[in-house]
Subunit: 240 residues, 2 copies
């Protein structure tokens, strides 16, 4: 499996390029509009055909490049089931899988940051070693943090359940690849987050809700532009 | 092997944490002073004992945290042979290796960005699969780029020789982990860089020298502070 983590500095977003090097098909998870040229160039250089663009959720802090990439490459747009999105090719629900050559990608419903959020478990080729298990956690679980829960149908109790019941029950050696990082970390493991994530360690559901409610965060700068655009697969900016 | 890539946003520097999970010893390559608390916290959480801090070269854009980490943890400072550094524990020359549990780290002399620059080849446990070969290329080779050659004994012709004769001769599947990235890329391979790095593809030594000479870059903002500090293992700022 080819696996590349890519970073958008302005929004601190991680995009993931995953490909089967044998059949040369690829997918991008959470691609960022401003990085579309970089990502197309990389696909070209690696001689990969873009099959899917996946979103973990409808982002409020940046606009997806999915619409633009679909117009250019003909790839399919894959959106979490329940998201209010027009023009997606497929909605993916909890437990459903995508196949990319020998790689299987399974959606794990992890609402709470938004009301329709999924994580993607990447199983790799069958018989992959435990250290090669990966989960792309979007904004449900960050490295020593988690996404906010105060808009877009977010709910702190729901996020607590998603993280503790759906993500923390994965094998401890599973590599955690988040949707954002603000401190320069790139990867963690489920075991590490269970032991050290200050949002969850030593907190019950009630205490987590209290913590999240007390945060009083400002809205993302691009929210008014990004959410409507992302509800249209990111198409708002460039269709005439 | 535990392998973590860490990013300092201000200087766009990658620091690498490498550890043997069995004997719990670790090393940091090119650690950044401003990130010392993050890195110490991560070492503590992973229950790792810091054995070495390695530099690929004397940096001009940031101050190393090696001196501070050595004072706190007792780790050894490892510096490329020939670097004008006071107070290092070991100077490592081309072909010499460090052992960290089951992991061997080999210095590859790659001067040209500075006059005493090494890359570090991480072989992993013996019998590692080809896809697990890694080289930390410092400022000799970036992803689709390379370090500048206009100060600290830098020399474009020497860098051309280092990259084409020492790095591009490694197995093509070797993963390239650079000292900096400014576009949000995290990793590449030797094969990719041979095919797509615009600083080298289609250029002979003379043409590369012409290109590097024409760049006319401004000096790094922290150069006057960073170089003297790094020539003292980063100790200037915090010894009384």
């Amino acid at each position: 499996m080819l696996f590349r983590q890519l970073f958008d500095r302005e929004s601190s977003t991680y995009t993931y390029l995953i490909a089967d090097p044998l059949n040369k098909t690829a997918m991008l998870v959470d691609p960022v509009l401003e990085q579309v040229e970089r990502d197309l160039q990389l696909l070209k250089e690696l001689e990969l055909s873009l099959r899917y663009c996946l979103e973990t959720h409808i982002h409020a802090d940046h606009i997806t490049s999915t619409g633009k990439l679909r117009a250019i490459t003909g790839c399919s747009s894959v959106i979490p089931a329940g998201a209010k999105v027009v023009g997606a090719d497929r909605f993916i629900a909890d437990g459903e899988t995508l196949q990319l050559g020998a790689i299987s990608i399974e959606a794990i419903a992890t609402p709470g940051h938004t009301d329709s959020h999924v994580a993607y478990r990447i199983n790799g080729v069958s018989g992959a070693a435990p250290k090669e298990l990966r989960v792309l956690t979007g904004d449900a679980l960050f490295i020593r943090g988690c996404g906010r829960t105060d808009f877009q149908g977010g709910d702190a109790g729901t996020l607590y359940d998603s993280v503790t019941q759906r993500l923390f029950t994965l094998p401890e050696e599973t590599l955690v690849y988040p949707g954002h990082d603000y401190r320069g970390c790139t990867v963690s493991t489920i075991g590490e987050e269970k032991r050290w994530n200050p949002r969850f360690v030593g907190r019950d559901r009630y205490s987590f809700i209290e913590l999240m409610t007390s945060l009083k965060l400002e809205n993302p700068k691009k929210m008014m532009e990004a959410v409507p655009a992302n509800q249209n697969c990111g198409n708002v900016l460039f269709v005439s």
